[in-house]
């Protein structure tokens, strides 16, 4: 039959030569191949990424660990409307809403806020629908952080202590967090 790709090789069933029957040349060939790999592993940079110490470079649109944003005055943006929890397909988000008291205006942006806000990282599928659902631009998935491995299951339930952004802007993640509408506006005016 005519070969269509011209890549077919014709195999001949020849009896093995003495060198082939003696095994040893083939064995030395194999040994040299593995030795090349040995020296490659010992000298060149290894392709293994030693995860907790090293991380692979993330894409700028990578959806990693969640963060609850603050506004410019350091007030929490979340108003505990529950839309993220409704949007969440994995039902990973739970929250308890509370009313802002007098004198807490510098803590919470709206009159209602989340007293507790928990995300179960074992349930979360990092789809980013909470981010899309949020009307207050409060929740984002950071592009440079992942939920680290833990030994206990309850350590994967992230409360507000681990989700809310640090108050000082210096301690916040340097890159990868998507801009809030205000930040984007500011950037736009700066560029213009």
């Amino acid at each position: 039959m005519q070969s269509l790709s011209n890549r077919a090789k014709k195999l001949e069933k020849k009896p093995m030569t003495f060198a082939e029957r003696a095994y040893l040349p083939a064995i030395f060939q194999g040994l040299s191949i593995t030795m090349q790999h040995f020296f490659r592993a010992a000298t060149k940079k290894q392709i293994t990424i030693r995860y907790p110490e090293e991380t692979r470079p993330f894409s700028p649109v990578f959806r990693g660990l969640h963060v609850l944003k603050r506004d410019e005055q350091g007030r929490e943006r979340c108003t505990a409307c529950g839309l993220c929890a409704v949007a969440c397909p994995a039902e990973a988000i739970t929250m308890v809403a509370g009313e802002r008291k007098k004198g807490e205006q510098n803590l919470y942006r709206e009159e209602k806020y989340a007293v507790s806000y928990e995300i179960n990282m074992l349930r979360c599928i990092f789809c980013g629908l909470c981010e899309e659902a949020c009307p207050k631009a409060a929740i984002y998935l950071q592009a440079d952080k992942m939920a680290p491995p833990r030994y206990e299951r309850d350590e994967f339930i992230y409360g507000k202590d681990r989700l809310v952004e640090p108050t000082s802007p210096d301690n916040r993640s340097a890159r990868g967090i998507q801009l809030t509408p205000e930040q984007a506006e500011k950037l736009r005016t700066q560029l213009a």
Binding site: I27, G30, L31, T34, F38, A41, Q46, T48
Partner: protein, 378 residues
């Protein structure tokens, strides 16, 4: 019978006891770190990293493994012969450790009148002793596999027994060619004959038996792989066919002993090979080194001799480690033999080759191409 009469003048029991303990400890330590080395070498040969979590570069990994094995549940399968089930791994470990007794790791150290021999015992039937102990080793596997009352274990044990018997024949025949040249079964005598004083000259290397017995060495090497149940002859374990082979039913440190005894066996096999074929504690340009120590370095006669001997110990262990590396290198290169291939290789290729090697050696000795050292022994 005094100790002088068997050739040990100025023998010091205290020092000799310490040497025995050190050899025991060193074999265990090397076996321990073989488990680590095997994993790192395997990783490097496969472009991976290997264990690097426990301690710096993962050096505490053997400790972590030992702790794990000791704390695992000790499990006895229903219907197992309990006494034999425990006896199997013990025998495997004991026989593995016993065979290192006759290996000369170095010449004798001198401290004034005291002489310390760097070997457990110097028996004039050393090689025969090693062979006897090594063939006992198969009983450890056999008993363990049978006592488990499991068909996979039994299959693995039977394979181990038939494999070891088949390859011991070719190994012994390969050894006979060496004995024809040396005229002695004593491992120290065989080692000393491979120094340039009695052999060929050029940096002492060509006095090594491997240059006089290349064919015998290859046969011995292949058989050593089979005797220690290492890939490509690891049919007794054979994970893909027999679950775990003879140690399928073993858990906890009993399995640890089986795995451990394999590494002790590898250590002993490489030590024997370096003694028989690579000159043992001889090293290149050793007499030039001794001459330098005695005349130029200005050391006392004893210390020049001791340094010379200690360098020999270093050389011996360098050879052993190279051998162990080679065992691991082969393991991660070659696939496992099929059982009928194993038997065909053993009976129809290696044994005839070994017999041919004996004939060849006989011809070479009578024609004087290989020096006849037996006269010196007699």
């Amino acid at each position: 019978m005094s100790l002088e009469s068997i050739g040990w003048p100025n023998f010091s029991l205290g020092w000799q006891g310490i040497v025995v303990l050190v050899i025991f400890g060193v074999s265990l330590l090397i076996a321990t770190y073989c488990t680590y080395a095997e994993r790192v070498i395997a990783a490097f040969l496969q472009d991976r990293v290997g264990p690097d979590r426990a301690g710096p570069w993962g050096l505490a990994q053997p400790l972590a493994d030992a702790v794990k094995l000791f704390t695992k549940e000790e499990f006895f399968p229903a219907g197992a012969n309990k006494a034999l089930f425990v006896f199997g791994p013990c025998l495997a470990m004991v026989t593995a450790l016993m065979s290192s007794a006759v290996i000369p790791f170095g010449n004798s150290l001198k401290f004034g009148d005291t002489v310390v021999h760097l070997r457990g015992i110097d028996s004039n039937i050393g090689m025969l002793y090693v062979f006897g102990i090594v063939s006992l080793g198969v009983y450890g596997i056999m008993i363990g596999g049978w006592a488990s009352n499991n068909k996979f274990s039994l299959l693995g044990a039977i394979r181990a027994a038939s494999q070891n018997i088949s390859y011991e024949l070719a190994m012994g025949l390969a050894l006979i060619a060496v004995l024809m040249m040396s005229g002695s079964l004593s491992l120290s005598t065989i080692t000393l004959q491979q120094s340039s004083a009695t052999g060929w000259h050029w940096g002492d290397i060509f006095a090594w038996n491997v240059f006089k017995q290349p064919l015998g060495f290859i046969i011995f090497l292949v058989c050593a792989f089979a005797e220690t149940n290492r890939t490509p002859f690891d049919l007794p374990e054979c994970e893909t066919e027999l679950v775990g082979g003879y140690h399928t039913e073993y858990s906890s440190m009993k399995m640890g002993l089986y795995l451990f005894s394999e590494y002790v066996n590898v250590f002993v096999a490489t030590a024997i090979m370096s003694v028989l074929y690579f000159g043992g504690f001889n090293y290149p340009f050793q007499y030039e080194f001794l001459d330098f120590l005695q005349t130029k370095a200005g050391l006392s006669v004893d210390w020049a001799h001791n340094l010379f001997v200690l360098m020999g110990v270093v050389a011996m262990f360098a050879k052993i480690f190279t051998g162990i590396f080679f065992f691991m290198w082969v393991r991660w290169t070659l696939p496992r033999f099929r059982y009928d291939q194993l038997m065909r290789l053993g009976w129809t290729i290696l044994i005839p080759l070994a017999i041919f090697n004996i004939l060849l050696t006989g011809v070479l000795i009578t024609t004087g191409i290989i020096p006849d050292l037996t006269i010196a022994v007699r």
